[in-house]
Every structure is written in structure tokens, then in C-alpha cells.
Amino acid sequence: MNAGSCNGCDIELVACLTPRYDVEQLGILVQGSPRHADILCISGPVTHNTVPAIHTVYGQVCHPKAVVAIGSCPASTNAFVGSPTVEGPLDRHIPVDVYVPGCPPRPDAIIEGIARAAQILAERGREPVGAEAEAGQKALVPQEQMQ
């Protein structure tokens, strides 16, 4: 989901679906409806207008669910820090499980982040409904950082 992103991270996310990276080899598919999804990927510094949308979409994903913050923007609001129209970082609004830093992050890093979110998801499946809110947050530092 795009929360005011410049599209840089979104393009890298799309690159994960291409034959070069192919996330489907891990069994990962892109779902149009949040009802069908397990892992919510959010890019962008969370602008004022996107806050209600983030809450709606997050609420529509069924338990168990995990959130991956793609890029530096949702983690720290990045270059937009202090802007009056930005209400980030993302964890002020919804619990975030995995951060994938980078501006934009490499597709490899995004895939690793989603794979970690899947592990968190598997553990969370055994917990009662509502466990997301108390979940600890994990930061991800990819080995191959962008220069």
C-alpha cells in the first residue's frame, strides 16, 4: 500500500515479481483485496490523507497479519521529516513487524523482509486474536545496502 510514497519503493516492490527475483518461489503472491492478504507492505512517509486509509486497510486484513514497512520513509519519514502534511512514522498508527530500510531498498532486501514477516506470521498464528498490537518490533538491516 502506498502511503504517500514517491513510487520509488513501489517500483522496487514490483521488481520482486519479475522473473529476476520471482517472489512466487517462496509462495508469495500479490493480492488485490486486503481480505485475502496476510502481510501488508506499506511504503511512503504516511501523509495526512492516507492515515484513515491505512487504518481501514489494516483493519480489513484478517488475523493473523503482519506489517512490513518498505523503505526509509515509513520508518523515519526520511527526507520529509518535519513536514506539516506528514503524520509518520508508520508505527505511530499501526504496529510494524519488519522494517526494510533503504531509499529505495533493493528487491532482495524487500523479499528478505517479507520472508521474515512470514515467520512472524507463522508464530502469530498460534496466538489469540489481537496479538499484533503487543508484538515486538524487529528491525531489519539487509546485507546488501544501496550505496
Binding site: E24, Q25, G32, S33, H36, Q60, C62, H63, P64
Partner: protein
């Protein structure tokens, strides 16, 4: 058809015990084949099974203003209809001696099979309207339009095969030898299968990137899992129907069963190839395709046995 053989067909082969793993296998083969043709690696072997287990373990959201019981009923009914259709498939006709000499079909079971094949599509249309989602309703309208256009061809193809054998018994159709006419009918059925299974180029009702997931948009958790299962079962039924019509009879039931699976898999590969090679058509070009191109094949197929009858 006595009770034991009916239960065996519904629950073991070609029913649930065979069809559920087979549907996962077919879904995997389809995804893997499409991935390989796009030079990707594709999903792991057990992925459709994992997906089903995962969906079964998820919670269902609270929905306001929607008839929850109906929403739950449609996928269950859809699975039931698909299993019923599978149970009717004439994989082992009586000449193989498998059903103990008792007839394993009844007069007119072809009509029941056609009705059961059509039901999942009808339930998908209902499900889209029940969900009261805008995308669901668009998907339902598309499904209804598509179903009107491909069913004409599908029914004519089936009827032409039935007319050529002078019978509406599935068993008689399955036992008769392959003829050019029958191949024409099978070809017409094959053309209809992509629309029935919602795969490219006729993936209009569930067009992803376009209307999210069509009628399934509001479905989640176990209900979505049942829809996936119903979809997998439809794969098995439709490929199974073509396989049992095209099956060369060996006279031994283990060989028949193996051939049935092999031919089904071959059809899955063929359909995956078509799906990978084509893009989604718009609704008017899909309808035009079925009414103009495929109808010609189907009308040809039905006119041939009628002409042959006049000669006789």
C-alpha cells in the same frame, strides 16, 4: 448405481479423496507451468496445500449489513456441486468389470452432470451479489455474461457428442470409440474450459489488477479457502470430463485410472500454456469470440451427427 459404488465414487475415486490432492496438484502444475514459461522458478510443490491450510486457520472478519449465513453457504454449496459432478464422471464404465456388473450410471446422468457443472458458476454470481461489494457485483455481471456466451458452445458440444451416440448416459458416451466428430466436440469443450475456470484469456470475473478479486473480494479466511478448493475441484472436474471423453479404453481399471490422470495433467499443461501466452480479453471481445468463432465449431459438431442420422 448402488450405494457402495455411489459412495466410493463420491468419497474416494474420482471423488474427494482423489480430487482434493489432485486439485492441489493441478493448481500447482498450472502455477508452476505459467512461472516456467515466464522464466520464473515458480511456487514450491506443496504451496496450494499450504495456502489452503493457512486460509483455514485464519479468522473471518465481522461484516455488517451482509447476510453471513449466505456468504458461508455459497462456497460450501460450490464444493458440494463440484464433488457431485466429479462422482458422476464415467472413469470406470461397466465393461471394465469394476463395479461388479451392476450399472454404475442411470439414464440421463449427462444432464445432471451438466447442471452440477454449471452450479459453481451460478454460486459465484450469487456470492458476488451477496457480498454487496462494488467489485463483487462487477465480477458477478461479468461472470453471468461470460457464462451465457460459453455455455451455448459448451452445451452444443456436449449435445453433439450425445446425439452421435444416441444416448444421454455418460457411460455410453465414454465407452464409444473416438471418432473425428467426437474430437470436434472435445475441441469445442476445450475452448470453453478457460472461461469456465476463469483463466487467461477469459479471466474477466476475477480480473486481478482490475477489479481486485471480483466476486471473491469480500471473502476471507476459511470461506476463501473453500472457494479455492471449489476452484481446484472445478479444474479436476473439467479436465476429468474431457479426459473421460477422450480416454482410450484399455479394459483394465488401474490402467484406465492412470490414463485418466495423465490425460487430465496434459490438459492442465495445455491450458496453462494458453493462459501464459495470452492477455485478458475485454468482455465484448470474449462474448464475440464465443458467439462467432467457437459457435462455428459447435454448430459443425452438432450438424454432423444429425446429417449422419438422415443418411442412415
Amino acid at each position: 448405481m448402488n450405494l457402495t459404488s455411489a459412495l466410493f465414487r463420491l468419497l474416494i475415486f474420482p471423488g474427494l479423496l482423489f480430487a482434493v490432492p489432485a486439485s492441489w496438484l493441478f493448481l500447482w502444475v498450472e502455477r508452476k507451468a505459467v512461472a516456467l514459461m515466464q522464466q520464473r522458478i515458480g511456487p514450491p510443490f506443496l504451496q496450494p496445500c499450504f495456502d489452503f491450510m493457512k486460509l483455514m486457520g485464519k479468522s473471518t472478519p465481522l461484516r455488517q449489513g451482509i447476510n453471513g449465513a449466505l456468504m458461508r453457504a455459497w462456497p460450501i454449496l460450490s464444493v458440494a456441486a463440484s464433488v457431485g459432478a466429479l462422482g458422476l464422471l464415467p472413469v470406470f464404465p461397466r465393461s471394465t468389470g469394476w463395479s461388479g456388473g451392476s450399472s454404475s450410471g442411470f439414464a440421463g446422468d449427462l444432464i445432471l452432470l451438466l447442471a452440477l457443472l454449471e452450479l459453481p458458476s451460478f454460486f459465484i454470481i450469487c456470492a458476488g451479489y451477496t457480498s454487496r461489494s462494488l467489485y463483487g457485483e462487477i465480477g458477478s455481471v461479468r461472470e453471468a455474461l461470460l457464462s451465457i456466451s460459453y455455455n451455448l458452445v459448451f452445451l452444443i458440444a456436449i449435445v453433439s457428442i450425445a446425439v452421435s451416440q444416441h444416448s444421454f448416459r455418460l457411460e455410453d458416451l465414454a465407452e464409444s470409440p473416438l471418432s473425428p466428430l467426437r474430437l470436434l466436440g472435445i475441441l469445442a469443450i476445450l475452448v470453453c474450459i478457460p472461461a469456465k475456470l476463469h483463466i487467461n484469456p477469459f479471466s474477466l470475473p476475477n480480473a486481478e489488477q482490475e477489479i481486485y478479486a471480483g466476486p471473491m473480494t469480500e471473502y476471507a479466511g476459511p470461506e476463501l479457502g473453500l472457494w479455492e478448493l471449489a476452484h481446484g475441484l472445478e479444474w479436476v472436474t473439467m479436465t476429468g470430463l474431457v479426459a473421460s471423453l477422450a480416454l482410450p479404453r484399455t479394459g483394465m481399471w488401474p490402467a484406465d485410472a492412470a490414463l485418466f490422470v495423465v490425460i487430465s495433467l496434459g490438459i492442465v499443461l495445455l491450458l496453462s500454456g494458453v493462459a501464459a501466452a495470452t492477455a485478458r480479453l475485454t468482455i465484448d471481445s470474449s462474448v464475440r469470440f464465443y458467439w462467432r468463432c467457437a459457435l462455428v465449431v459447435a454448430v459443425l459438431a452438432i450438424s454432423l451427427p444429425l446429417l449422419m442420422r438422415i443418411k442412415l
